[in-house]
Symmetry: D2
């Protein structure tokens, strides 16, 4: 269970890291959408390992094969099936993990839950699963583009290097100009330096991704349980290694007074915005108000480190182990397009639901 | 849409603050559960306004009336319908709000979404809706009790007063001994002082609630989208005024290295726990590992303040307005049982889902 | 589980025959719908026992109480909660059934499923539960009326008295002019006679209800599993005592050749219809084509008879029993508004889903 | 929408007749199930065209490729993704249908619904889509086998040749011994003769399939909307060309009296069965009682005939057309495994749901 997201625009995904292929089905994509295949592939390329010195060298072409639902480049309203081959699997690399539970991985919990598990490269728990999300996210972005809605994320923190500027002070078009996807060049340089140092120490890093959704009309979100932010939280909390979510003023806003925190309506005509401030993060009562929607997602440091650690084996014994093989030091830069994808999927679902709200 | 939560154990709620009654239906509660009605009512009393000097004086008995699904105090497996009357509504109090959108409330967004809205006391957006969640949460807790699982929350921050101790250093049995539901007496006193001062200034406060789930067996949670923490996040993000969620090491964990963050397995027999640390918050790969599950929920300061603010009227004009009537300064103490309720509902759903995982 | 129907326009129902009240929640009803309360009550009156000599004399006012979701007679888009009191319960009447499983009732199966059960008046298995469906159906009809879609059902068979005319040959406005809801006066008279004779014999009857949906636009229905007719079948098969469903040519069509069965497109302008015949029942490939949708629903004879029968008791012994109390001879006349209600609920769901099909 | 069936054991399917591949995802299959790949392939072979002289000569190997969810022949609890290639597509055959709506096909309705459509071989409306159902059905049967539940269907009517015997009078092991899948050799011969004659006339036939589920324990089915028979009806009504469903006594039972129809409980020890008769079809109040479950499914005659008919073109003109290419005369023999598959899928879902009913 749990491999489907969405109520109208729905992604169901399948695939293990070292199985034949990853893939998914997008059901509920409206008919008549033109698919820009280059754009979809480019989104996949953004997620792909081996893009730069600071990310994992595993190199797969990650070419998506669409099997249905699109005719002459236009969606037909029928489900969009797709696969992405697993080209580069060295299953042998993982033999030493067959009966071992690595610390802070999902090895132990999958074993407890299912009794059987695919240990090769993490199996279903591998971040490779997110490739399917990026495909669906790319199509979701194409739907959103018809509504002039954009979803842009960037790295706002890696380890202890934290961007001090708000998103409104940044030029987001610069996000893709460096390996860590931080739109601030100086901070990006520091982050890269920290990654390199950490890599040399055989250690790993976490971080934070900030995501901004612009152009969403007022009225999206379904009270009471399916608040816009509750579904955004659900969507991004499902990404591997995520430990937290906050939108608008978030955790920092808890220390403010109401008189500071309230977003006063702006004088008529004084500016293009509805409110003078946006602590609400574009969402009030779970429904968008037309302002920018923005949120932060926290990622823990990667669990696979190149240092000797205690692990557990199937007999319940503590054994020593050390990470080998190809691994990122920090998942955050590669997770930027994944956060965008999940946010886009959630937004399209709300766009379609909102069509049913009124007579 | 969006008024149902859960996949097997499902709550659907209805009701507006000043309508006839609040209510809900719990479908999927297993047959054969003994209902402790005193416990259910006590949970409602914990949420009820007017419990102490620091919370809203609105006083309603909040007596739940069960209409179905329970025979001689035992659940029959059929849906449990229930209502809670709205006894104390002074609809007249809200006439001045009919054509006014208050800042940082949901007035404007509901109007944009639905064109019509019940403006009396916030209508559906009122926190009074949470009374239904507490009923379902109480029943969920009774299910969990059969599994020896407990869900306990407490106030860990109000405004700028933040508890410095971890939950493991606190005596959670003391949570209910003070008006702010903080198990640390000294911190509680400071919090109460801050609430009083803020009230005198006509202002409001936010804060943080920490919640701990003990006794959950390993194996709960459904990868990939329905990770245990993703559904917990979804559940609590649907509570009014919530701005953020983090579990385990959360946002703070993003600044740690993997070598610090990883939860090493404990030596066989050295202690009762699986791991020496619990930065994972009891969840690895979206599945419980048997350790304590814990998470924080961020609440923004209440939007209704007793100071003059700019509001918008239906004609698009800025007007001055000032909060009147009965309002809390800080929602956090009363939200403690609500966070517990939502967590309990999510946990029962996973308990029941887990019964279907294996042949 | 299983107490909710619909994907967007959703009814969740609760209630046992002899509990405090029946009730339900309609979630997903579009905002801005004017509720004609007299119409809703009239639909309930059509379903109510005691309307004529040929139906059960149990007499309850069946007044629906709306608790939320409607303001000044207009839906607000929030969930519509409602209850109908159980006024006339003589629980004592059923003491003799506490440990007895009646033949062809659900006593045995509920007991097997849940271990506990409410035996009073059938508990949850009572046809009284359909009162909630009629409320939701009435509101669904009001939605459909905005689209000029009507749903009309009538009795086409009782016992061995079967109407020989097609619906196109009948004046459906006459359906409500007799106690059996058959628009053909002569057949109605025969049916009434058969009911009276059967009643004297202490026996019961089944029958068939035909339902016609007029005005549905082309394009409703969701391939492949949620075909329009598959959801209609699902909706009416959930009514008590239903044993079969067929639409268009149905079972009779299985004996036709394709050349007879195919609905040829009509000559341009020759008539108002798309096709010359309508064996398709207005549905092709699971999607409406704009022609009349029509279907038949089969009802078994009522299981409670006024004759001595073998029953099973909790000890596994065969005992003799005889129906006592107030019971219909034939459920069909009263089920007419229930079939309409279920069809209307399904149709509104498709109307709303169809809004999401295209860009 | 509408491409997923099931609540716990869920199949989502994709694919158009002349696209790259058909495929699907089975989510919710319990971990630890041994997959008999030969059995799965054999089920596909049973559905495959070109098996005998009386079915369509289109010949594809219909080899299923499992991409995930199975390790060393055992399910892992993660989603089972699979594809079946479309090997034998002659898209050119269908050019003449691009702007033509064939009578009693889904051409017109898809066009009205989606504006665009894949006209090649029926696109998504092709019965080729059922190949995915057979894969999921085969796995469902393997789950059911662990519970000693079997699902067996056979042809009980083709055109006007109707089997006069009940299933209890037949030797179902003979079903696969003839081309029409009728366990009665004499009737089968007549059916084959009728198919041959109809084929020579360029015409087509409908028919009825009877399905029997043996070994289901008492207690399956979820009142009130998700009655066991309501979900069975929904499942099989989603198969192409189906026009009706009845279980137990079905439509014939409507003409019986209650005293005849009621299934009296059998004397203790007198036989292996709970009841002397089984008009209930093994289901009472929507829940299985442990007796055999049986139902009939009606199929209309195939719409593509080898005679000249009126069709409609995109300009709204009536044009003459005649079927060409490879087509079955009667879908019924090949639909036997499809009915079994859909019934098996529904049954597994209920088996898993039933695990959650009691404390």
């Amino acid at each position: 269970m749990g491999n489907t997201i969405g109520k109208i625009f729905k992604l169901t995904s399948f695939g293990e890291s070292h199985g034949e292929a990853m893939g998914g089905i997008i059901d509920g994509c409206p008919a008549g959408l033109k698919i820009d295949f280059d754009f979809v592939q480019n989104e996949l390329n953004r997620r792909r390992p081996g893009q730069s010195a600071v990310v994992s060298p595993r190199n797969e072409s990650d070419t998506v094969l669409f099997l249905s639902g699109i005719l002459n480049g236009i969606t037909t309203g029928t489900p969009i099936g797709f696969t992405i081959k697993n080209e580069n699997h060295h299953s042998g690399d993982y033999d030493h993990l067959k009966d071992v539970f690595r610390p802070s991985h999902a090895d132990y919990t999958y074993q407890q839950k299912y009794t059987v598990r695919d240990h090769r490269g993490g199996g279903r728990t591998s971040a490779r699963e997110t490739v399917c999300r990026v495909v669906a996210g790319a199509i979701a972005k194409l739907v959103l583009a018809q509504y002039n809605i954009t979803v842009q994320a960037y790295t706002s923190q890696i380890g202890q290097i934290k961007l001090s500027k708000e998103y409104t002070q940044l030029d987001l078009t610069k996000t893709e100009t460096n390996a860590v996807r931080c739109p601030d060049a100086a901070a990006a340089e520091e982050m890269i330096k920290q990654i390199e140092q950490t890599q040399q120490a055989g250690d790993t890093l976490g971080g934070v991704i900030t995501c901004i959704i612009k152009g969403a009309p007022a009225g999206l979100g379904e009270p009471v349980f399916d608040k816009l932010h509750a579904q955004l939280a659900y969507a991004v909390m499902g990404i591997n290694a995520v430990k937290g979510f906050e939108y608008g003023s978030g955790f920092a806003g808890t220390a403010m007074n109401g008189s500071q925190h309230n977003d006063a309506f702006s004088e008529k005509g004084s500016n293009a915005n509805l409110t003078n401030t946006n602590h609400s993060g574009g969402i009030q009562g779970g429904i968008s108000n037309g302002e920018d929607i923005y949120f932060n997602t926290a990622f823990k440091p990667i669990a696979t480190i190149m240092q000797t650690q205690n692990a557990l084996n199937a007999k319940g014994e503590i054994i020593e182990m050390k990470g080998i093989g190809r691994h990122d030091v920090c998942v955050v830069p590669r997770a930027v397009p994944i956060v965008e994808a999940m946010a886009a999927i959630a937004m399209v679902d709300f766009i379609l639901m909102a069509r049913t709200n009124k007579m």
